[in-house]
Structure formats: structure tokens, C-alpha cells
């Protein structure tokens, strides 16, 4: 079946089964490989993208559910005001270690800051607990989110 996907402001017509996770359509069909596969069971956050501005785990969202809704991936998040601030803060603090989890971290952090522009440490921990980092960059993620919030 064909689905119209609106990814990063661009329309894609994809011919895939409706129950295939959005992640694989983004990566394999469309070729946007910035979104990563970590666990495939909504446990790690590596595959986070935004659908209608809400962060979702693309490894468990059937593509049919995301069709016709605006989807934003790591490739275009820097075009939003929060995304640009988050990316700059990430570079300033040098958050990234291996980088594997980081597109998911940035997608979650951006949605979080858009909804909560002045988060406390507790607010940050409550949300970012959902994104696992094997390299343990959590303290730098927290610092970068605070920097991005301060740079409004």
C-alpha cells in the first residue's frame, strides 16, 4: 500500500506494508539514516523522531499511524529555534561520545525544551531518563539542556 509521508517538510510517497515501523521506512525506504536503531522495543530512545511535534519511538510506530502527519527527524531539527539552540549547546558542551544515542537525545531534548523552556534538574531527569546512553553522557546532556535553556 502507498502512504504519503511528510518528513522534514518534504513529501514522500512510499509503497510499504502499513505495519512496518516508521524507523525502517525512514532509514531503508527514504534513506534518512540519522535516526538510529537501538532496541526495537521502545526501551532506549535511540530511534526518537517527532510526529506532530511529539517525540515518538519510531521503532514501534507503524508507518500507517504516522502517514499524513508532519514528521521531523534529526536531519532537520536544527531548522527549528529550539533544535538550533540544542545543537549549539551540544557542541559547546561537547556532549557526544560515540554518538549512537545522540540523535534520539537531541530529538527528545528539543521537544522537551519547546514545552518546558526553563527546566529544573528534576524536570530534565524525568524526561531524559527515557533516552539511554551507553557512554554515560548524562551529566553533559543535563548541562547542555540547561545551556540551551539559558540561551533563549
Amino acid at each position: 500500500m502507498t502512504y504519503d509521508l511528510l518528513v522534514n517538510g518534504k513529501k514522500y510517497v512510499v509503497d510499504v506494508d502499513g505495519d512496518i515501523p516508521l524507523l525502517w521506512v525512514l532509514r531503508d525506504t527514504i534513506g534518512l539514516t540519522g535516526t538510529k536503531f537501538g532496541c526495537g522495543i521502545a526501551m532506549c530512545g535511540a530511534c526518537t523522531v517527532q510526529v506532530d511535534g511529539v517525540p515518538v519511538r519510531s521503532c514501534v510506530v507503524p508507518v500507517a499511524e504516522a502517514a499524513a502527519k508532519p514528521i521531523t527527524t534529526i536531519e532537520a531539527i536544527g531548522e527549528t529555534a529550539e533544535g538550533a539552540r540544542v545543537q549549539k549547546a551540544w557542541l559547546d558542551i561537547d556532549v557526544v561520545q560515540c554518538g549512537y544515542c545522540q540523535s534520539g537525545q537531541i530529538m527528545s531534548a528539543t521537544a522537551f525544551l519547546a514545552a518546558n523552556p526553563s527546566p529544573t534538574d528534576e524536570d530534565i531527569d524525568a524526561v531524559m531518563a527515557g533516552n539511554i546512553c551507553r557512554c554515560g553522557t548524562y551529566p553533559r546532556i543535563r548541562a547542555a539542556i540547561k545551556l540551551a535553556a539559558a540561551g533563549r
Binding site: 505495519d19 525502517w24 532509514r27 531503508d28 538510529k36 536503531f37 537501538g38 532496541c39 526495537g40 522495543i41 521502545a42 526501551m43 532506549c44 530512545g45 535511540a46 526518537t48 511529539v54 517525540p55 515518538v56 519511538r57 514501534v60 510506530v61 507503524p62 499511524e65 549512537y100 544515542c101 527528545s108 531534548a109 521537544a111 522537551f112 525544551l113 519547546a114 514545552a115 518546558n116 524536570d123 524525568a126 524526561v127 531524559m128 531518563a129 527515557g130 539511554i132 546512553c133 551507553r134
Partner: protein, 213 residues
């Protein structure tokens, strides 16, 4: 497909280290799907005393309310539990004011309008319903006795201002309540059905809505 197969070894370390705690708790999710029968209203006819009958009917209905599918989202704190063993939800979730999770990690980040199958994992599916949310703090059930749950359920200051008639309707028709009997592969259902459960609540109300001690 080929790309996907190659992707798996690349992330094996991430899976093996970062989420090992979560995976451990998944093992307890190897479960049954049949919750067994719920006694029907007629099974209580032998109890002559109306008050005693009402209490006994609520006791039976409470087998549903205290089942993990229901009580996992009526936690004592503002964080849900999960699984048959009611371990803390992974990832750690906070209800926040909305009961829908904090912006950035809302329930719908993972839970959709319907159960979502998961391929190739010990976790067979991600549960979902369009009303997926945590019960309000006033409706916390974990740690309460059946009598305490009963008194809370009929207390309009704590039950969302529901009348007894509203309760019968809620238990019998609400589709998030009904989800418990359709919890998705890999998860047990509470005993009976939504219909038999609602019939018990109806009979409990018509016998005076008495609460066990």
C-alpha cells in the same frame, strides 16, 4: 531487510549494556493469557444477608481491580509499575500534572491508540489505548486493602465525582477499562470479561454498595 540484519550487530553493545536492567525485568513478562472465570452475580444468591452479599460481590470484583493490568496504572506513587510482577516502569515514568507524562516523555511516546506488536523480542507487544494514562493520585490503589479500595471507589471526592450509576457505566463501557481483557500478546488478562465485571459492580451497587472491612 539486508540493511536491517547488518544494523543489529552494530548496536548489540548498546542493547547489551544500556538496557540490560530493562531486559532483566522483561523476563517476568513470560505470561499466560487466560485470567480464568469471574463468579457471576447468581453465585452470591446463597448469601442471605444483603450487606454481606454486597461485600462478597465487591471482593470478587476486586480480583479484576487488583490485577496487574488494572492496578499497574493505579500506583501508590506517581510512577506506574509494569509486568505481571508489578516492577517499576522502564523507563522510569512520572505522571506529571497531566497524568500523561512530562512533555518530552509522554505516555504516547511509546504507547499508541492500540497494542503494537513487537517482532523478535521477549516482549511480544507494547500495550496501547487512545486513553492511555495514569490514574489520578486520588485513585491510587496499590498498597490499599480491598476495603480501602472500595471506599475510595465510591467516594466522589476521590473518584472523579462519579455517582454509583456512573461507576457501573465506567466499569462496563470505558474502553481503557476494557483494554485489560485485550492486553496484547505476552500479557495476562484479569479474570472474567468486562461484561461479567460490570454485572458484579451493578449487583454491588444494588445491594447497597457495602465495603469489606
Amino acid at each position: 531487510m539486508i540493511k536491517r540484519i547488518f544494523a543489529i550487530p552494530l548496536v548489540a553493545v548498546l542493547a547489551a549494556t544500556g538496557i540490560v536492567a530493562g531486559m532483566g525485568s522483561l523476563q517476568s513478562n513470560a505470561e499466560t493469557s487466560d485470567g480464568g472465570a469471574l463468579k457471576s452475580v447468581s453465585d452470591f444468591e446463597a448469601i442471605a444477608d444483603t450487606s454481606a452479599r454486597s461485600k462478597a460481590i465487591f471482593e470478587e470484583a476486586s480480583r479484576v481491580m487488583t490485577h496487574p493490568r488494572c492496578i499497574n496504572c493505579h500506583p501508590a506513587t506517581r510512577s506506574p509499575t509494569q509486568g505481571e510482577d508489578m516492577h517499576p516502569h522502564v523507563p522510569l515514568m512520572n505522571a506529571s500534572e497531566s497524568s500523561l507524562g512530562p512533555a518530552g516523555l509522554v505516555c504516547s511516546t511509546c504507547h499508541g491508540a492500540e497494542n503494537r506488536p513487537v517482532v523478535g523480542s521477549r516482549m511480544k507487544s507494547i500495550p496501547g489505548n487512545s486513553h492511555w494514562s495514569l490514574a489520578p493520585a486520588s485513585m491510587a490503589w496499590q498498597g490499599l486493602t480491598v476495603g480501602e479500595i472500595c471506599r475510595q471507589v465510591k467516594d466522589t471526592s476521590r473518584n472523579g465525582n462519579r455517582s454509583l450509576a456512573d461507576l457501573i457505566r465506567h466499569m462496563g463501557e470505558d474502553h481503557l477499562v476494557g483494554w485489560a481483557w485485550h492486553p496484547g500478546e505476552g500479557r495476562s488478562a484479569p479474570p472474567g470479561s468486562q461484561e461479567t465485571f460490570a454485572a458484579l459492580i451493578d449487583a454491588w451497587v444494588s445491594t447497597g454498595a457495602e465495603c469489606p472491612d
